[in-house]
């Protein structure tokens, strides 16, 4: 039987945040199992060893520092500015998890003060955040919020000392090599270029008119389902691209097109190849895909 490593000492620190990642984390149905392997030195909502005030006083060593929320040098927790609080805790930890898109790239809160607010390693696409020199020990879990399973996966990999393959933003490939498009129930409509006439139906693809960013957003939302049961696209909502450094873009419910052609292509697909297939596919009329899936609910 494999030996059980000691509990990881974890600090969960918040920057400029809405608490969304905290509540997303609390949705983990196997939270109890996870808590068997970690000890929270500090957590904003769960029982923990140190209160925020004690944390700021002691600045303890840890195995993992989870940072939620956007970074601003002057933003304070318990009277201590992030500039020193985050930096000190980061130096005294072995691993850092950037939890959510605010911590990872600046996210929504960056919009209010773009000059001073950023992620911890990245500021949008640029690696100019305060922890850029420590990037080797940072794992990015972008997403607004990040999925609880993405976090438990990362903690588990760290706990068993397994290497985590990462992409250019230090996001685990096992989670972010997928596109949100992968596994979307509307994929067949995408293949045959049948667009959703309007919101509120099971039928049609949301990429052509409703602004869905699934084909160019990295994330396993349609593989590791939200709240175990669904996802934005499965409930008919376009993907808003929340795992990418560009989040939040503008005009989120409309597809930007040039002469009816989507302005952004699925990742890695040359425009010419896409259009050759799209033009052909669109000219077919597949009766099954133009009908409602279920005629009525009686």
């Amino acid at each position: 039987m494999p030996s059980n490593p000691a509990k990881l000492r974890v600090i969960w620190l918040q920057g400029i945040t809405c608490n969304g990642n905290t509540h997303s984390f609390l949705n983990d149905p196997s939270l109890g199992t996870l808590l068997d392997s970690v000890e929270f030195l500090h957590h904003p909502l769960l029982p923990c060893t140190f209160t925020l005030q004690q944390l700021v006083k002691k600045l303890p060593k840890s195995d993992i520092l989870i940072f939620e929320g956007a970074y601003s040098a002057s933003f304070e927790r318990a009277g201590m500015a992030m500039e020193s609080l985050l930096m000190t805790l980061a130096l005294k930890t072995k691993h850092i998890i950037s939890m959510g898109s605010c911590a990872s790239f600046g996210g929504i809160f960056k919009e209010n003060d773009p000059e001073h607010i950023s992620g911890i390693v990245f500021d949008k696409e640029n690696d100019s955040g305060p922890l850029r020199d420590m990037r080797k020990k940072v794992i990015t879990l972008s997403g607004c919020p990040a999925h609880p399973k993405w976090l438990s996966f990362t903690i588990d990999m760290i706990r068993f000392d397994k290497p985590i393959a990462v992409d250019e933003y230090r996001r685990p490939k096992e989670l972010y090599a997928y596109l949100v498009h992968n596994g979307c129930l509307r994929n067949e409509y995408f293949e045959w270029k049948v667009d959703s006439e309007h919101f509120g139906t099971k039928e049609g693809c949301l990429f052509y008119a409703q602004g869905c960013q699934g084909p160019f957003t990295h994330g396993s939302c349609n593989k590791i389902l939200w709240n175990e049961v669904s996802s934005k696209t499965r409930s008919g909502t376009p993907c808003v691209g929340c795992t990418e450094p560009t989040f939040p873009k503008r005009e989120l419910f409309t597809t930007k097109t040039y002469m009816s052609i989507p302005s952004e292509m699925p990742i890695g697909i040359p425009k010419r190849s896409y259009l050759a297939l799209a033009g052909a596919a669109k000219s077919f009329h597949i009766k099954r895909l133009e009908e409602r899936l279920i005629d009525d609910h009686t």
């Binding site: 949705n27 904003p44 175990e228 669904s230 808003v240």
Partner: protein, 431 residues
């Protein structure tokens, strides 16, 4: 003596400045929120529909309420622009189901993570993780996600309806989850059926309830704070039926009497980022207690007659609301007519220039979103959150709701506990 107390394990953090006498009793209390994120400014200049993605990020625990307030605001703008917009009964019901789910999970987390935890700690107990409560909250959120795609931070409600198109399978799953949640509330929270719980409220016997709620009440009793925490006895509900209640008299509320007061904010030399929300120039309490009282719900109304607006009734009102919301969700789920459209497309938002107001009942009280839209773009956006009503910082002659409730407490610790009975959310207060 003046003490600054950092309040944690709420949504975000708050600082309470207490003035105490020699015995340690609280003579004055000020509430300060130190973080500000500028959500309203972020929205300006954007397409009004983008607000459906941005505003849920005001708050991780009640973001869905912000979504529903935003969608109602936009729909109101359509109507004010003279454009008809129709919402099917099905879409209205689904929105109410998911919103109620958010309230239920909020109340469960508050009861276990905050009240049971903090009162237990004051009794000298070693705190443990309330896994059973977190598990059932995650189930409630799963029920929500069957329709909204995810919780937190869904954007599934759009002007014209909802984006999902559920089948009986989702409804069946939702009803199964709901049964589990109801069982949890009966077995763990109350230790009795909802009927027995209501009878216990009417007979003033809630202290003898065997569940975790009873434990919280008994902790409060041992700490001698159960009947403390009285405030102005003024209540306001703007979301469903607009009612203001003062001195035991209910009147229909007039939105024109709502105002914001920023005299205590940093901008004006004060010590907080939070603006006060006032009705007719005065502080009014919102939330589950206000909702129960203006609707004259039996049980809470009976308890109120005995105890006034003290801690016991604020605790009971949140728990009673969990119970009534479950019944409401069950009723809505069983009567959903799935053959109705989920979404009735309105004219393009770009054709709309008008002002809109969206008011809903969020976990902590009335939530107001108001915006001016010009050709589909947001010119200005203003949000009044429930905690701005309850956690406002007044003056000696016009004290805020929680402020007044804390003054007179025997100690800072007890005042802080009273403060938490209001279900504090710092992130919302200073959006």
């Amino acid at each position: 003596m003046i003490t600054h107390e950092l309040i944690e394990r709420i949504e975000g953090e708050a600082v309470l400045d207490f003035q105490t006498d020699k015995s340690g009793a609280v003579q004055d209390a000020a509430i300060r929120f130190l973080h500000f994120r500028g959500m309203e400014a972020i929205l300006e200049g954007r397409n009004a529909l983008d607000a459906l993605v941005i505003t849920p990020r005001v708050c991780g625990i009640c973001g869905h309420s912000h979504l529903i307030a935003t969608v109602k605001m936009i729909e109101d703008a359509y109507r004010n622009a003279g454009v008809a917009i129709r919402i099917s009964d099905k879409a209205t019901a689904i929105r109410q189901i998911t919103l109620s789910c958010e309230l239920i999970q909020n109340h469960i987390k508050w009861l276990y993570l905050v009240m049971l935890h903090e009162s237990g700690k004051m009794m000298g107990e070693e705190p443990t993780v309330a896994l059973k409560a977190l598990y059932v909250s995650s189930q409630v959120n799963q029920l929500c996600a069957l329709f909204s795609g995810q919780w937190p931070h869904s954007s599934y409600a759009l002007p014209g309806g909802v984006s999902c198109d559920p089948t009986h399978i989702e409804v069946m799953q939702a009803l199964k989850i709901l049964s589990d949640v109801e069982r949890f509330i009966e077995d763990e929270v109350l230790g009795c059926t909802p009927e027995v719980f209501e009878q216990a409220m009417r007979d003033n016997e809630v202290l003898s309830l065997s569940g975790d709620f009873g434990t919280v009440l008994r902790n409060f009793e041992r700490l001698k704070v159960l009947d403390t925490g009285k405030s102005h006895g003024r209540f306001l509900v703007l979301g469903d039926k607009s009612v203001a209640m003062a001195n035991g008299i209910r009147n229909s509320a007039d939105f024109a009497l709502v105002s914001e007061d920023d005299s205590q904010t940093f901008e004006h030399g004060g010590k907080t980022y939070a603006k006060n929300a006032l009705y007719n120039g005065e502080f009014y309490e919102g939330g589950p207690l206000a909702r129960a009282l203006v609707q004259e719900r039996t049980g809470i109304t009976d308890l109120y007659r005995t105890y006034g607006d003290s801690a016991i009734i604020r605790l009971s009102a949140r728990v009673a609301e969990m119970v009534s919301l479950c019944a409401q969700v069950r009723q809505l789920l069983t009567s959903l007519d799935l053959s109705q459209p989920s979404f009735i497309p309105p004219p393009a938002i770009e054709s709309i220039s008008a002002e809109g107001i969206g008011i809903i009942e969020a976990p902590r009280g009335s939530l107001i979103h108001r915006a001016t839209i010009e050709k589909g773009k947001i010119v200005s956006y203003s949000i009044i959150t429930p905690t701005q009503w309850n956690l406002g910082n007044g003056t000696a002659s016009n004290l805020g709701i929680a402020q007044k409730a804390m003054i007179g407490a025997e100690s800072i610790a007890k005042a802080s506990l009273i403060f938490r009975t209001f279900d504090v959310c710092s992130v919302c207060t200073t959006h």
